[in-house]
């Protein structure tokens, strides 16, 4: 009897769509290479072909055994344990945790590392359940200054400065402080 669930069909469909998209895009670079008969598409299409076979094998397993783990497999972590959400708030929290880093990454170009980072640290701490304002503030400042000390002062690492005022001005201010520090300690 089939043990297929909707999630299994979705999983298989996602892989097939990925294979189809990559196969379709392979025609964009379907050019011959004079010294190599398989051309630029040979390897990716071979990978896609094998991937399709393996996805079908996986579908067969899902059909017969559902999500059951194959006996004798090694190195499986406990991520596989069933996770159930008891409240909508937990789902909201997880979505926020997944999206926040993207917003931070997107903000790096206009806002810059120096301005965006303290806000990001505070928001992550809050999303992960810390409610005490003093702890949030103290840890935000501690992590921020630790990172600045290591990467800006000690290693002089080039970090995004932003291109929108007043964030850009703040980055410039931080870098001026860094230069003065280096000059006074003769780094």
């Amino acid at each position: 009897m089939s043990k297929l669930k909707v999630s299994h069909i979705v999983e298989t469909s996602v892989w097939i769509v990925i294979i189809a998209v990559f196969f379709a895009f392979s025609f964009e670079f379907d050019q011959e290479i004079e010294i190599y008969i398989f051309g630029a598409t040979g390897w990716p299409r071979a990978v896609l072909g094998i991937l399709l076979l393996v996805v079908l094998g996986n579908f067969f397993h899902l059909y017969k055994k559902g999500s059951e783990e194959q006996q004798g497999r090694i190195g499986i972590t406990d991520d596989d344990e069933v996770i159930s959400y008891e409240s909508f708030r937990s789902v909201q929290k997880l979505v926020a945790i997944l999206l926040l880093p993207f917003i931070y990454a997107w903000s790096l170009k206009p806002v810059g590392f120096y301005s965006a980072t303290p806000i990001f640290i505070a928001l992550v701490i809050m999303l992960l359940g810390e409610k005490r304002a003093k702890w949030i503030l103290a840890n935000t400042l501690f992590i921020y200054f630790l990172i600045i000390l290591l990467f800006m002062v000690l290693l002089n690492a080039p970090l995004p400065q932003g291109n929108v005022s007043p964030f850009y001005d703040f980055s410039a201010f931080m870098l001026t402080i860094n230069t003065k520090l280096h000059q006074s300690f003769n780094f």
């Binding site: 190599y36 499986i76 790096l108 980072t117 992550v124 990467f151 970090l159």
Partner: protein
């Protein structure tokens, strides 16, 4: 050899500035390896421009020392947080992290310290004694067909560990191979799958992908547990493994040294495949296979001995042939080039001082893992006491910096977070993250060597398989693959 080694040691320890660079490399490599989110590659990328001001021997020595100690340092994060510091530490997490969950973190980290030192020291000694003959052997016996065959065997081994089923193990590996096809093809330089982003012409950068799949996805997994109230903080333990426990695993140590050294010596293969193969062979020869992945000390020992055994061996193709064995040795080529030097056979004749300072430094760096590592371990273990809500933003920030620094692109930070979300979803569905990462690393190497091999034999498959080492590795890979498929199908049919 002894005379040269002593001369190298004297040059290293006779100059206070060289000593300070050595100490900086040892401590920096260990710290950057052991801080979740950054790795020895982050440190190396930051330091590369500064090496222009150093003497060539000091520059190469600094990177070689970081390579040795950073490879060990990455094991700590793999064991404590399930975040491998580098891809070569990924198999260490298979058993190391379950050991932490079982309250045996001290035992796992202690074994990693000792075995990294043993693997690294042995490898350094063999490297000093046999770089030239081994390089000559490699030149005459190892070509693109053998390297492709080893990649195939390695991927077959990787697919057999990590995923919930064999199919998921293979899908993970193939997914990594597919990601590796993004960017220019290695034969004709034609752009593939750049989807309109000019920055993708150079491919998906290696560091953001690794940080995303390993570090960020782990933060998301733990954050999810925190959100639903299922998060359990790992226990701190300071009990180191006993001599008896290590003695029981002596065969695993010797086997991993051989496997690690063999993988390290092959150009382009490096420590990552060594660690997977070391772990895979430990499973293959064990009488208690079912205990692996649940917190078996032998798993940590095999993986950590093999990856450190590969560090010395990886210097052989770099120094003797000018071929880097991985990302870190590729950065070392950068150091050579900054000083108008080319690694290769002529280095032995033109700059013997440089070679022996580097050899001596690697030997002492591995030795220092044993002493500084044991002290550092006791301190690092206290990282487990930091509440997750304060550790997580630090790891996410360090990962962002680590991703950005390589190429100075915000796109890489986005790729890292994208890889984090994909990794999180794939882990929830039982796929293997180390499998994906190994696919990404070996994809380009495999394709390039397959193409070169095919051109060498004029597309004649019989001639391709008439090379004994190539045939042996292909057969071993096929056997691993076919037995796996047979087992998976029989399990599904039951």
């Amino acid at each position: 050899m002894i005379d040269n080694f002593l001369a190298g040691s004297l040059a290293l320890f006779g100059d206070p500035f060289s000593i300070s660079i050595f100490v900086f490399g040892v401590v920096g490599g260990m710290l950057f390896g052991a801080i979740p989110g950054v790795s020895m590659l982050t440190l190396a990328a930051i330091l590369l421009p500064f090496t222009a001001n150093l003497d060539p021997a000091q520059g190469v020595m600094l990177f070689a020392v970081i390579y040795c100690t950073g490879t060990y340092g990455g094991a700590i994060t793999a064991i404590l947080f399930n975040i491998p510091g580098a891809p070569e530490n990924a198999p260490t997490a298979f058993d190391g992290y379950p050991m932490t969950r079982n309250g045996q973190s001290g035992k796992a980290v202690g074994a990693a310290v000792l075995c990294s030192a043993i693997g690294g020291i042995t490898s350094a000694v063999v490297m000093m004694a046999a770089t030239e003959p081994l390089a000559n052997w490699a030149i005459s016996n190892i070509g693109p067909p053998e390297i492709f065959a080893l990649v195939f065997f390695g991927l077959a081994v990787a697919s057999s560990v990590g995923g919930r089923t064999l199919w998921k193990g293979w899908i993970s590996v193939l997914c990594g191979l597919l990601i590796a096809t993004i960017g220019q093809d290695p034969v004709g330089g034609i752009n593939r799958y750049n989807f309109g982003f000019a920055d993708l012409a150079a491919g998906i950068a290696f560091v953001p992908a690794i940080l995303g799949f390993f570090a960020v996805s782990e933060i998301f997994v733990q954050a999810e547990k925190k959100a639903i109230g299922k998060y359990v903080a790992p226990e701190l333990s300071l009990d180191f493994p006993t001599i008896l426990e290590l003695w029981i695993n002596k065969i695993a140590v010797v086997r991993s040294i051989i496997v690690g050294f063999f993988c390290g010596i092959l150009p382009g293969i490096g420590a990552t495949l060594a660690a997977f193969m070391g772990y895979g062979e430990a499973v293959r020869w064990s009488k208690n296979k079912e205990e692996f992945g649940k917190g078996k000390l032998e798993g940590v020992i095999s993986s950590e001995t093999a990856n450190n055994a590969a560090t010395g061996a990886a210097m052989i193709p770099l120094l003797a042939l000018g071929l880097p064995g991985g990302a870190m040795t590729a950065l070392m080529v950068g150091v050579f080039q900054m000083h108008d030097l080319e690694p290769g056979p002529m280095v032995f004749y033109n700059s013997p001082d440089l070679i022996w300072i580097v050899f001596a430094a690697m030997f002492y760096a591995n030795l220092s893992i044993l002493f500084i590592g044991l002290i550092e371990t006791k301190t690092i273990l206290y990282l487990l006491k930091i509440p997750f809500q304060f550790l997580a933003p630090m790891i996410l920030l360090l990962s962002s910096i680590g991703s950005y620094i390589g190429r100075g692109l915000v796109l890489d930070v986005m790729i890292m977070f994208g890889a984090g979300i994909i990794g999180f979803l794939l882990r929830r569905s039982g796929y293997s993250i180390p499998g994906i990462v190994l696919g990404i690393i070996l994809g380009k190497i495999g394709e390039q060597n397959f193409a070169q091999g095919m051109q060498m034999v004029h597309y004649d498959i019989v001639e391709y398989l008439s090379r004994p080492i190539c045939l042996l590795l292909i057969v071993a890979g096929l056997l691993t693959l076919l037995t796996g498929v047979y087992r998976a199908l029989s399990f599904s049919m039951k």
